[in-house]
């Protein structure tokens, strides 16, 4: 049976018309009913697309991305990593040399040589170095001027806890995500740097549950702080990209939120509701959209789909978050907690098992998202895209692959792993040791659940797992962080998530 189109209620508008057109195109990409073949991730043609960009370069229409050269590089090399491809040493060195040409003499990285430093390319440059760089001379890592970078960050800081993305530029949560990710990996987090930032992030949540680009500055044009409680409304509606950045920032700030006196809060339930509503229906092949009443787009596979893993750090979904006193995880008997409930609410042990399975499989439709990417997201000539009939590009190639990877694997913040990292911490004697230790171990606690993968199309479609906060592989994230914190990455205990005890 063909999926039901989105209702128009006999009241067409511009939105419903483009919605209907999109659904019509998308449905043509479903295989004929009765087809037995599984969808294939065309790894080779995507590889060729990426190699062409890397080696031959980008056509002239990419001039529009001239101020995003670090992004073009990050999208390309991180796509290789997700596709389980490592570059040879010669090419790695050429990439390191190019990245280092973007470092600004006053700290941070710019969109190209001679361009001003900016938070977004700073993230892309540092993450590229996580993939291709190394310690030592010409390795990139030790050539990052961390002290100047910290000063650059502090110069962008605003009175309400937010940051400009660059001098004289806008405030938005993408920049804050980029800053916090880099500061977390490079061991640059301090209480001064992030003071007020969590409250700013919280102020960006809209009534819909997702997050906006920023909130109204709580300082006047003359620069003076407005007295609280001056309204601090979000500017712009809830949006997938900003929601990912805000949520990831919120999690990166957890060590500081725990210590703060006036704890800012976000509405996690409303956020979850909004995120699940962003998944398109069967008529949209289960892709994600970025805003209410907008069209699905492959890149939100990561920005929205990838955000579900982050929610686990806040106690939503996932097996660690099943309330252990309510749900008998290890009990094999049926005389469980529900037997005292009479009437229609008695719940069998089997139902409980189903719930556990649901919790493990996640709160959105991971199978459908994978199908969207495999059926509609792949361009026949290689590379991935927003939706048919659009062309592939570097940005969509990475975020479709990252989204696909996050729909395949269950990566969660393991308390077991966190304790393991905490225990093997080598004291440094530096200030803020306790907080730094927790930031490091929180970052490294993210663990891929063994046996927790569900791969549409079979093992041939498997991708590497990515770290839900950094969108680097676990290995790249851990190696670079360990270098800057002066730590070693301890080997992981072989354990599956479902056996992970609650701390």
């Amino acid at each position: 049976m063909a999926p039901r189109p989105t209702p128009t209620d006999g009241f067409p508008t511009l939105t419903s018309r483009s919605q209907a057109e999109t659904e019509e195109v998308l449905l043509k990409h479903l295989p004929e009913p009765g087809t037995k073949t599984e969808p294939v991730l065309q790894k080779n043609s995507h590889m060729q697309f990426l190699v062409r960009n890397l080696v031959q370069g980008f056509p002239a229409r990419y001039i529009s991305q001239d101020a995003s050269q670090p992004w073009l590089m990050f999208w390309t090399v991180q796509a290789f990593s997700i596709l389980q491809v490592a570059l040879d040493e010669g090419n790695k060195q050429r990439i390191i040399d190019k990245v280092m040409a973007w470092q600004h003499p006053e700290g941070g990285f710019g969109g190209g040589p001679g361009q001003s430093a900016h938070l977004l390319p700073t993230y892309a440059a540092v993450c590229t170095l996580a993939i291709v760089g190394r310690p030592g001379p010409r390795g990139g890592w030790d050539q990052i001027d961390r002290e100047k970078m910290y000063q650059f960050f502090m110069k962008l800081k605003q009175k309400d806890g937010s940051f400009l993305v660059a001098h004289h530029s806008e405030v938005d949560v993408r920049g804050i995500y980029c800053l916090l990710t880099v500061a977390t990996i490079l061991d640059l987090m301090t209480p001064e740097l992030v003071e007020g930032t969590a409250a700013f992030i919280a102020s960006c949540q809209t009534y819909e549950g997702g997050f906006a680009s920023s909130s109204h500055p709580s300082y006047s044009l003359s620069g003076a702080l407005l007295p609280s409680p001056a309204p601090r409304p979000p500017l712009g509606e809830a949006h997938g990209g900003y929601t990912f950045c805000a949520l990831a920032s919120w999690i990166l700030l957890q060590s500081y939120i725990a210590q703060s006196k006036h704890k800012p809060t976000i509405d996690v339930k409303n956020l979850l509701r909004w995120l699940v509503q962003m998944q398109g229906t069967e008529a949209e092949l289960g892709g994600f959209k970025g805003r209410t009443n907008k069209l699905v787009d492959g890149c939100y596979s990561w920005w929205c789909g990838g955000a579900f893993a982050l929610l686990e750090a806040l106690g939503v979904g996932g097996i660690q978050n099943a309330e252990s006193d309510e749900v008998p995880i290890d009990s094999g008997t049926s005389d469980g907690v529900w037997d005292d409930v009479d009437g229609g609410l008695s719940i069998s042990y089997l139902e409980l098992r189903n719930w556990l399975t649901d919790a493990l499989e996640g709160l959105y439709n991971r199978k459908a998202l994978q199908e969207y990417i495999l059926y509609a997201g792949q361009h026949p000539a290689g590379g991935l895209r927003d939706k048919p009939p659009k062309n592939a590009d570097a940005y969509h190639t990475l975020y479709c692959l990252s989204g696909l990877s996050s729909a395949q694997h269950h990566v969660f913040p393991s308390t077991l792993r966190k304790h393991q990292v905490l225990e093997s911490w080598k004291p440094s004697g530096k200030p803020g040791e306790e907080t730094r230790k927790h930031i490091f171990s929180d970052l490294l606690s993210w663990t891929e659940e063994e046996g927790g993968s569900h791969i549409v199309g079979g093992a041939a479609n498997r991708l590497n797992a990515t770290h839900p906060l950094t969108n680097l592989t676990m290995t790249h994230t851990e190696a670079m962080a360990a270098h800057f914190y002066g730590q070693e990455v301890s080997t992981r205990a072989r354990s599956s998530g479902s056996r992970n005890p609650k701390a």
């Binding site: 128009t8 209620d9 006999g10 009241f11 511009l14 939105t15 080696v55 370069g57 980008f58 002239a60 001039i63 529009s64 991305q65 001239d66 101020a67 050269q69 390309t76 050429r94 990439i95 190019k98 710019g110 969109g111 001679g114 361009q115 660059a166 530029s169 806008e170 009534y207 819909e208 906006a212 680009s213 109204h216 006047s220 003359s222 702080l225 407005l226 007295p227 309204p231 409304p233 500017l235 509606e237 409303n270 509503q277 229906t281 069967e282 209410t292 009443n293 907008k294 979904g317 309330e323 409930v341 229609g344 609410l345 719940i347 719930w355 649901d358 919790a359 996640g362 959105y364 439709n365």
Partner: protein, 366 residues
């Protein structure tokens, strides 16, 4: 200032008035991977831009050069940034707002914003300029025209909200911590609700417009004439119900309804009578013969049941609590999970689980 397209202009390398600047290549001693195939014009202009930045020159010809680059690549944030710094250097120290340089810049931005509607920098530069001109009113008109071309443009809407909050104040006259008062022009807000109405009349599914309505009515302080919040709540509920009745399967309108109820701490059950007929197949509920303005019925062409109404009613019942109501909610979620909104099956099952846990908690407490 030139407004010709770059194609008509000679390269900077061939211009005698640029002879004194040494152009700088982007990559000097390396052969970079992943190069972009630049056009001659772009390479030429950006080589001279790097040369200018190196010298630290801030002169009128820098405005010409940065405009040239921006026309070729409006996302070149360094060109924008340097342009702004150059403007600041060229502007007189007093009567900034009436300076011809600033006026020319505003005119140029009117043209560029239309060309490059989707670029962050175009809109941010306007903010910087209006902070100098302090003329927000014409901006509202400009935005209205911009939204005719692209009714959901994120930058345009957030710029409008920033303008209203910055120059129109945030409710009561806000004094800053140092006692200074902003130039607050509350008149900016006159017509804002009508503006939202117009936008929603064009497309009732435009979520940006619904968000803007929330900003105007609830998010940014209380406007003169709107002090009676009970009356405002009533007005907004009537408004959103009417719009839902036109096209019920409109998540934007339902989200607004939820937002208003949550913001005003009004129980969801207060609009249960309205929502109920939308949550069931047509004919399952007897529609009253009398037109009930409080609770407009679904239109004749509405496709029922509407999943947003089903979700809403389940929330109403869950919040009421107790075994019977929880069971009603569970029934609704089950119907969503298995029939009407199957893509979100996992989520509806999660809601069932949460509700059961909550019920158990209620019983334990009792």
């Amino acid at each position: 200032m030139s407004t010709e397209t770059p194609d008509d202009e000679p390269l900077y390398a061939n211009r005698s008035d640029w002879k004194d600047v040494e152009p700088l290549e982007q990559y000097e001693d390396i052969n970079p991977l992943a190069p972009i195939f630049y056009t001659e014009e772009y390479k030429d202009a950006t080589n001279y831009f790097r040369g200018i930045v190196k010298r630290g020159e801030k002169s009128p010809r820098v405005l010409d050069l940065t405009e040239n680059i921006i026309r070729q690549n409006p996302a070149h944030y360094s060109a924008w940034q340097y342009r702004y710094e150059t403007l600041l250097a060229l502007l007189p120290s007093d009567n900034v707002a009436s300076s011809p340089i600033l006026e020319a810049e505003v005119r140029l931005m009117d043209e560029l914003a239309v060309l490059f509607l989707k670029t962050y920098q175009v809109w941010h530069h306007r903010r910087l300029l209006v902070a100098l001109t302090r003329k927000p009113k014409r901006e509202l008109d400009f935005i209205r025209k911009g939204l005719e071309a692209d009714a959901k443009n994120y930058h345009t809407w957030s710029y409008r909200q920033w303008l209203l909050g910055t120059f129109g104040g945030r409710g009561a006259n806000v004094t800053d911590a140092e006692g200074g008062v902003e130039d607050v022009d509350e008149d900016l807000w006159i017509g804002e609700l009508d503006f939202v109405d117009t936008m929603l009349a064009q497309d009732v599914r435009n979520n940006s417009a619904w968000h803007h309505r929330f900003f105007v009515v609830w998010g940014c302080g209380v406007r003169e004439g709107d002090e009676d919040r009970e009356r405002v709540l009533k007005r907004e509920l009537t408004y959103v119900k009417q719009n839902i009745s036109l096209a019920p399967s409109n998540p934007s309108a339902w989200n607004y309804l939820r937002g208003v109820l949550t913001h005003t701490r009004t129980p969801f059950s207060a609009v249960a009578d309205f929502a109920l007929p939308y949550a069931y197949p047509r004919g399952a509920y007897h529609v009253k013969d009398v037109v009930d303005l409080e609770n407009p019925s679904p239109s004749d062409t509405a496709q029922l049941p509407c999943v947003q109404a089903m979700e809403f009613m389940a929330d109403v019942w869950e919040r009421e609590g107790g075994e019977e109501k929880t069971e009603q909610a569970v029934k609704m979620w089950t119907s969503l999970a298995n029939e009407h909104d199957t893509i979100r099956k996992k989520y509806w099952e999660h809601r069932i689980r949460e509700a059961h846990l909550a019920l158990k908690g209620q019983k334990r407490a009792a």
